[in-house]
């Protein structure tokens, strides 16, 4: 990639997008969705500050949590009206 000041872009940036930053490693508590309790209201998707919850285009499936980027802030668990998201402490074995 870059070697030095002569070939760096003049703006501090990379050609990649922010997806390369695997911020999931910062997480202490992991959100686990109980698919039985979920009513697909997608409030968790709306509130996630990191856009780390994905929904399908047809809005038929339960939301998918992107664990590569979820930082474990627990906003989704707090907002879920069905209490379908549980925050579980990460363990080193995982």
């Amino acid at each position: 990639m870059f070697k030095g000041y002569k070939d760096l872009p003049c703006v501090p940036m990379t050609w990649d997008t922010t997806l390369v930053n695997m911020t999931g490693g910062w997480r202490t508590y992991k959100p686990i969705l109980d698919e039985e309790k979920c009513n697909k209201c997608y409030i968790c998707w709306k509130f996630c500050p990191e856009a780390a919850i994905d929904v399908d285009d047809e809005l038929k499936e339960v939301p998918k949590i992107d664990y590569d980027h979820c930082k474990g802030c627990a906003i989704c668990a707090n907002e879920c009206p069905k209490e379908a998201i549980e925050m579980v402490e990460e363990s080193i074995e995982d």
């Binding site: 030095g4 760096l8 872009p9 003049c10 703006v11 501090p12 940036m13 997008t17």
Partner: protein, 395 residues
């Protein structure tokens, strides 16, 4: 072209309008307020097509300007004193992100005690933020510098933010005749902002992310330093081009007056330069060889110009309207620093004047010139740093 009698603050507003600034984010502070009030009027009446963002602080104003600039918009803000110093973090961000934001700063003293009058500490204290700094002497220079500073800052060789300053009340609230150029001539001179990289949802990239010590943080800082060097040439080039179209210029980085055969030269910035010009003429009428070098650009510092000036003069007196507690005014320290590595240096003395808006009168300037001339005759300094017209009291 039309002539209007306007304040320095309104000259800023007209400058931003003529430059077609697209995003204005500002917070009011005395004595800057009328700059952004006038722009708000321009936007409300439809005379100016811009997004006007009302923010809750100067820190937010600068953050809004930086991010708007990163989308490719031309941005403008204005502030003064406590507002400028509150922006400090974001000023460093603006240069680091290479966003050519432009700002008017009305030079005002910092509290306590409260003072709203002219003093240069607010902007001098931003020396190391990576901003180009212009110090204006007239309302015409304020308007013209807005137009030229955008062109310099937005050029791909430079891509750095700039601010211009005007002394509180001496310019901000004083009416002068100002030539307001035609919009189509300004449009020809100043094309729209076209950054090499910007926020684009169709082509997303990662901006301003983490750079580890073994990666390129240091190299990106070095790039800023190279661009600041290129800004020197660009300022001169742009001013020459401006002069060709609009018929005036304001002296490049170091605006010299009657310095050619001068033995004693005063270096000063801002409105006190006008007073010094007048007093220099009186001395010249009597055959005394004195001159003025107005520090128009403080960053990048005019090292080459100061060295050329120093070749032929015996004494340089540097007038600072601010003080760095612990050692001298910044203009003095920078001038002395620029001359340390040249042979045959002149004597250099620091005159600390006009702090907190105290008037720098023709008598003040005469006193300084008489002192500087006596140093030339003696061939040595009486003292290195002197606070001028200080009330002593005490007995």
């Amino acid at each position: 072209m039309v002539k209007k009698v306007i304040t320095g603050n309104y000259a800023s507003s007209y400058g931003a309008k003529l430059a077609r600034a697209q995003v204005i984010a500002a917070y009011p502070i005395t004595p800057q307020t009328s700059v952004v009030e006038k722009i708000a009027e321009f936007v409300a009446s439809g005379e100016m097509e811009a997004q006007y963002i009302k923010v809750e602080s100067e820190h937010s104003a600068m953050a809004a300007c930086i991010t708007a600039s990163q989308t490719g918009a031309r941005t403008f803000t204005a502030t003064s004193a406590h507002g400028l110093t509150l922006m400090h973090e974001m000023l460093i961000w603006a240069s680091g992100a290479r966003t050519p934001v432009l700002m008017t700063n009305v030079n005002r003293a910092m509290a306590p005690p409260w003072s709203v009058w002219a003093d240069h500490l607010d902007s001098v204290a931003q020396r190391d933020t990576g901003w180009i700094q212009y110090y204006c002497e007239s309302n015409q220079e304020v308007l013209d510098t807005i137009i030229t500073a955008y062109k310099v800052g937005e050029s791909r060789d430079v891509l750095l933010p700039s601010f211009l300053t005007l002394d509180a009340f001496y310019l901000s609230h004083t009416y002068e005749t100002v030539d307001i150029p035609d919009q189509d001539e300004v449009d020809k001179f100043l094309p729209s902002f076209d950054p090499p990289y910007k926020f684009d949802v169709e082509d997303p990239h990662l901006f301003g992310s983490l750079s580890f010590p073994h990666q390129f943080y240091m190299e990106w800082r070095y790039q800023i330093s190279l661009s600041m060097e290129k800004a020197r040439e660009k300022i001169l080039e742009t001013e020459a081009e401006f002069k060709k179209i609009f018929g005036r210029s304001h002296g490049g980085l170091l605006d010299t007056y009657r310095c050619d055969d001068a033995e004693v030269v005063l270096i000063a910035a801002g409105t006190m330069a006008s007073t010094i010009r007048e007093v220099v003429d009186w001395y010249r009428d009597k055959g005394v060889k004195v001159g003025l070098a107005r520090l128009r650009v403080f960053r990048p510092f005019p090292v080459k110009e100061v060295r050329e000036l120093a070749e032929s003069v015996d004494v340089i007196g540097v007038l600072d309207r601010s003080y760095s507690f612990g050692y001298g005014g910044a203009f003095f320290a920078e001038t002395a620093g620029a001359l340390y590595n040249v042979p045959d240096k002149p004597l250099i003395k620091n005159y600390v004047v006009g702090i907190g808006g105290r008037d720098v009168t023709p008598d003040t300037v005469s006193g300084i010139l008489n002192n500087a001339i006596s140093l030339k005759d003696k061939g040595e300094l009486d003292q290195e740093i002197e606070w001028i017209e200080l009330k002593e009291g005490g007995d």
